[in-house]
């Protein structure tokens, strides 16, 4: 009974920590994004609220919360609100299988910094990740607006094509690791002394493209397309309800997909890797904290890379996006899959 109780307490603490970190950081990433965008375009960005605009997210949140809650005439109120729930819940559920660091021991209890180390973790990531499409389709339909409907149809088309691509892209690392559990994949990379990006550069590039598409980032942000669709499926939402969609799509989903990319290709919490030789840890002085810092550092860098792309590139047309997915990226992932399946046994077995 004692062990069950301890397990329950640890799980609740883990859930609270993960939710707090994800939603808190998610809110503050709005400021990061605005600052990065501003400096890319040689302007200072938010400067007024707090030191260098540090309190800007709070002000924005307050503004969004106190706005009038508008609702489109002839819309469907139940589905309109359900879409919000469907957007937020699967996106945060993905973090249940993201491993933040190696197993450690406190107060005589061994703690794995992952909510549930289920042995099909990766499949769950992509299942939950693509469930966002229901939220978007419902939001578009329930708003009873042409712009919203067109935006949601475009997004659904993109998600359907890139979900296939992303699933085949991650097959390479799965073959190399021989497991679907996210925690085990990182362990294998540490054992084999190899980040999988060295053997899977094609898969990594394709994965990053698919991440951009799933997050709705430039060059794949055709579902928003301010110039033609206003803001796509969110056009009829107001106040905090409007704020929730970008929060989920751009920040929560972006964080989770970057974290999965780090787990799959960049060795999770392991320090800098020299292929087949070992690891160099310039942060050794942090002691047991160093793996967590490495993980956070890698996720941050990947996320900043996505921001950098977002604020520099132009936008593709919808038919270009989907035809690239089916005609270029999917064949590339097939080639990569076959090559990996041939090479992997030669190296390790």
């Amino acid at each position: 009974m004692d062990s069950v109780l301890a397990w329950l307490i640890i799980t609740v603490i883990k859930i609270l920590v993960i939710l707090g970190i994800v939603l808190g950081i998610g809110a503050y990433l709005t400021l990061v994004e605005r600052k990065v965008a501003a400096h890319i375009q040689r302007r200072p960005g938010p400067m007024v609220v707090g030191w260098h605009g540090l309190l800007q997210p709070l002000a924005d949140g307050l503004k969004l919360l106190t706005k009038e809650d508008l609702f489109p005439r002839y819309g469907n109120r139940f589905l309109y609100n359900l879409a919000l729930v469907l957007a937020l819940v699967p996106a945060t559920l993905v973090f249940a299988v993201v491993p933040f660091g190696p197993e450690f021991e406190t107060f005589g209890i061994k703690v794995k910094p992952i909510l549930t180390d289920v042995n099909v973790g990766l499949l769950l990531v992509f299942a939950f990740g693509s469930m966002a499409v229901f939220a978007i389709a419902l939001a578009g339909w329930a708003s009873n607006s042409k712009y919203a409907l067109i935006g949601s149809m475009r997004k659904a088309g993109i998600v359907v094509s890139y979900e296939v691509v992303i699933t085949f892209a991650v097959m390479g690392p799965i073959i190399l690791a021989g497991t679907l559990s996210t925690y085990e994949i990182v362990q294998k990379q540490i054992e084999q002394k190899l980040w999988y990006i060295w053997l899977q550069p094609i898969a990594f590039v394709v994965y990053m493209f698919a991440v951009l598409a799933e997050m709705g980032r430039v060059p794949f942000d055709i579902q928003e397309a301010e110039a033609e669709l206003v803001t796509g499926f969110t056009v009829e939402y107001g106040g905090m309800k409007f704020g929730l969609f970008p929060l989920v799509e751009w920040y929560v989903e972006g964080l989770s997909l970057s974290a999965i990319a780090v787990v799959l290709f960049l060795g999770g919490w392991s320090p800098i890797n020299i292929p087949f030789l070992g690891f160099i840890d310039p942060l050794f002085f942090l002691g047991p904290l160093s793996p967590f810092v490495w993980f956070a550092l890698k996720v941050t860098l990947l996320f900043l890379f996505i921001l950098w792309l977002h604020w520099t590139l132009p936008r593709y047309r919808i038919d270009q996006i989907t035809s690239t997915a089916w005609k270029v990226m999917l064949p590339l992932t097939f080639v990569n899959l076959v090559l990996t399946a041939v090479i992997a046994p030669l190296i390790w077995r």
């Binding site: 469907n76 589905l79 042995n119 939950f128 469930m131 659904a156 699933t167």
Partner: protein, 177 residues
């Protein structure tokens, strides 16, 4: 104890939403109810310890298949979706015996399968090797022929879809003129 509670929770949701699929008038609610059935069945798989099947249920049925229903739905005009006229009453009555026969067949296959399948053998294997490996081993040894045949059927379906979806090189109007 907790397992039973969660089991009854998920199966209750599944049965209720299955009733919703049949009786709700608005097609978009029907699809949501279908989604809820599929997700709660995935939950049942997870409780039974079949994580791989549960995850695949989520990925294939709850997402990939249902998304296409949603695609169709978004093309349904808003006013038509709330119409409550019952369609296809006669056809429903005619097809009822056929549906009944299919259900009887499913029950029979299930019962025979239970009586034939080896008891407790797979459980050992699963605890030893893990879910994914056992499914792979069984699929590629005992059911290999069936697996290959199914992939052939899928290939034919894909070719058919490509043929239907391709652009016509010349339309009929061009041909006649």
């Amino acid at each position: 104890m907790i397992q039973w509670l969660v089991f009854f929770l998920f199966s209750g949701i599944a049965v209720l939403s299955a009733l919703g699929v049949v009786f709700l008038p608005n097609p978009i609610y029907v699809i949501l109810a279908l989604l809820s059935v599929l997700v709660s069945v995935a939950g049942l798989f997870f409780i039974a310890g079949a994580e791989l099947v549960g995850a695949i249920q989520l990925l294939i049925y709850a997402v990939a298949v249902t998304v296409f229903y949603v695609f169709v739905l978004t093309a349904v005009p808003w006013e038509k979706a709330i119409k409550k006229d019952p369609f296809y009453r006669v056809e429903g009555l005619i097809s009822f015996p056929l549906v009944l026969a299919l259900y009887v067949e499913m029950v029979l296959v299930f019962l025979i399968g239970v009586s034939v399948s080896p008891k407790g053998q797979f459980r050992e294997l699963i605890t030893k090797f893990g879910n994914t490996e056992v499914v792979g081993a069984i699929l590629f040894s005992k059911y290999f022929l069936a697996f290959e045949l199914v992939s052939l059927v899928l290939l034919i379906g894909m070719i058919g879809a490509v043929i239907i979806g391709r652009k016509e090189a010349q339309t009929y109007e061009d041909h006649s003129s």
